[in-house]
């Protein structure tokens, strides 16, 4: 009895976080990006500084017609947004917020999260293929190329703290974390963060959805709720990447008063990383397709490998 109540509770909390946190990040992006560009951003919706802008957007999306192009592969087209969104929801389950505060504490947490996260990219690929649109197809192919290039440094960088902690459990990694890992694992953190941005197709790595040249890449033909699901997936991805960075490299709930406020530390660290994601979007111009590839193969992979060697030496010694 008590056991299944607890399971249901945990699932509900994870779903609530999954629905609320991306909206928070989205609203922060609206306002922070606006002020970084000397604008004020949304001001009307909800009355106070446009706090309800994303709610209004959601209502708008829900009202729109759900168009499926005549030449589209209907099943794949309709399935794509769910495939893009659901893996992030599943991955949320394994992210620990505090000691014991986790949807499901997995021994292979890191492996599980990384594996599930890369499934999300399939949704965009499916959308690109099924839209029967050349821009979508081009965008889909660019996503595929980007995934191929960045998955490697992403995983290599994530392996480094796992090796340092000697476990693949996310909770275990946080518990083994020491403050000097900030320096020791710094290259891995940078590689992980940059590669994560690229996997999420966030600017400056948004070549596959570059609106000024291929409309919106694989999302070109999507309207209404399905489009909103893709957007939600992007912001859920930001939350997930930020939370993973906080847990793997920033010590999760470790900090002053961690006994009572541990969960707050995790959320604050996640929020700071999410802010940097937004900041990078505003500060940097989009990378060209060849620059994207050379950054991955010529910079990130070697740095990640060097970090791995360093971690091995220190961990064994």
């Amino acid at each position: 009895m008590a056991e299944w109540v607890e399971v249901v509770l945990r699932v509900l909390v994870v779903i609530a976080a999954f629905l609320v946190l991306p909206l928070l990040v989205g609203q922060t992006e609206h306002k922070a990006m606006a002020h970084m560009q000397s604008r004020v951003g949304p001001m009307y919706a909800g009355g106070f500084h446009g706090w309800a802008q994303l709610v209004a957007d959601g209502v708008k999306f829900a009202q729109k017609e759900d168009v499926v192009p005549a030449a589209a592969d209907r099943t794949v087209f309709k399935l794509a947004p769910a495939v893009a969104l659901l893996p992030y929801l599943v991955a949320f389950v394994a992210i620990p917020v505090g000691p014991g505060l986790v949807g499901q504490d997995l021994d292979l947490g890191l492996f599980f999260v990384l594996a599930v996260m890369s499934v999300g990219v399939l949704g965009s690929l499916m959308g690109g293929w099924a839209s029967a649109n050349k821009y979508s197809l081009l965008g889909g192919m660019r996503i595929a190329a980007q995934l191929m290039a960045y998955e490697l440094p992403f995983v290599l960088a994530a392996v480094s703290p796992a090796m340092a902690a000697g476990t693949l459990s996310l909770t275990g990694i946080v518990e083994a974390w020491q403050w000097w890992w900030l320096l020791w694992q710094l290259p891995a953190m940078v590689v992980f963060f940059v590669a994560g941005l690229a996997e999420l197709r966030r600017p400056p790595f948004d070549m596959p959805v570059a609106d000024s040249e291929i409309v919106f890449g694989p999302y070109t033909e999507y309207t209404g709720l399905r489009f909103a699901l893709f957007l939600l997936a992007e912001y859920a991805g930001i939350v997930l990447l930020s939370a993973l960075t906080a847990v793997l490299f920033l010590g999760g709930w470790q900090g002053p008063f961690e006994g009572a406020l541990g969960w707050l530390w995790t959320l604050v660290k996640t929020g700071v990383v999410a802010f940097v994601v937004i900041w990078a979007r505003v500060a940097y111009p989009r990378l060209r397709e060849d620059q994207l590839q050379s950054l991955a193969w010529k910079v990130l992979v070697p740095v990640a490998l060097a970090q791995l060697a360093l971690t091995t030496v220190v961990a064994v010694a």
Binding site: A34, M36, S38, R39, V40, W279, V282, Y284
Partner: protein
């Protein structure tokens, strides 16, 4: 020469500086803008001053002023005098979809029948409604502000100089003699 990576920091610095500064966006419909003196919002017409001399319509580079009138005969003021004829304005339209706000009509008017009003909220859904007729132009007259004060070091207005000169001549002239000016 800038070192490697300084561009990345520059981008972050510029955006952070903007973020921490107050934005200067004016919240227009909630807060009305403070317009400078002599703002060119809309042209107002005092119909009473207009003599239908057509100077404004002819000078207008955009040909956006449409004037029509007829003559009326005014009975003689005193007995034995001739009847006078007078122009009566029938139509005075300004098409603000053509107007380029150059102010030439207002400069050209010899009788101060045209004035600038700072009002600017007269957008329309139909372009034909942007042609304001003489009644609407007359109504704008209520929004025309008093002329702004002169700058501290500015020359005196011509009218004041002329009036002072006339008064001086009158004062210095010996009594019994009428001044010419």
């Amino acid at each position: 020469m800038s070192s490697w990576g300084s561009g990345l920091l520059d981008g972050l610095r510029v955006t952070w500086r903007n973020l921490t500064r107050r934005s200067v966006t004016a919240q227009y419909p909630d807060a009305m803008p403070v317009l400078p003196p002599r703002s060119r919002g809309v042209i107002a017409l005092i119909e009473e001053n207009c003599t239908v001399c057509m100077l404004c319509a002819r000078e207008c580079p955009a040909w956006c002023i449409y004037i029509d009138s007829h003559k009326e005969v005014v009975p003689p003021v005193e007995e034995g005098a001739r009847e006078r004829s007078r122009n009566v304005l029938d139509q005075f339209d300004i098409d603000f979809s053509l107007c380029m706000y150059c102010s030439i009509c207002i400069e050209a008017c010899p009788f101060d029948a045209l004035h600038w009003s700072p009002e600017f909220e007269y957008a329309e859904y139909d372009i034909r409604d942007l042609t304001h007729d003489k009644d609407r132009l007359r109504d704008w007259m209520w929004t025309v502000p008093v002329p702004p004060a002169l700058d501290p070091a500015a020359e005196e207005p011509k009218e004041v100089v002329a009036a002072r000169k006339a008064a001086d001549v009158k004062d210095t002239a010996p009594p019994g003699q009428e001044p010419k000016a």
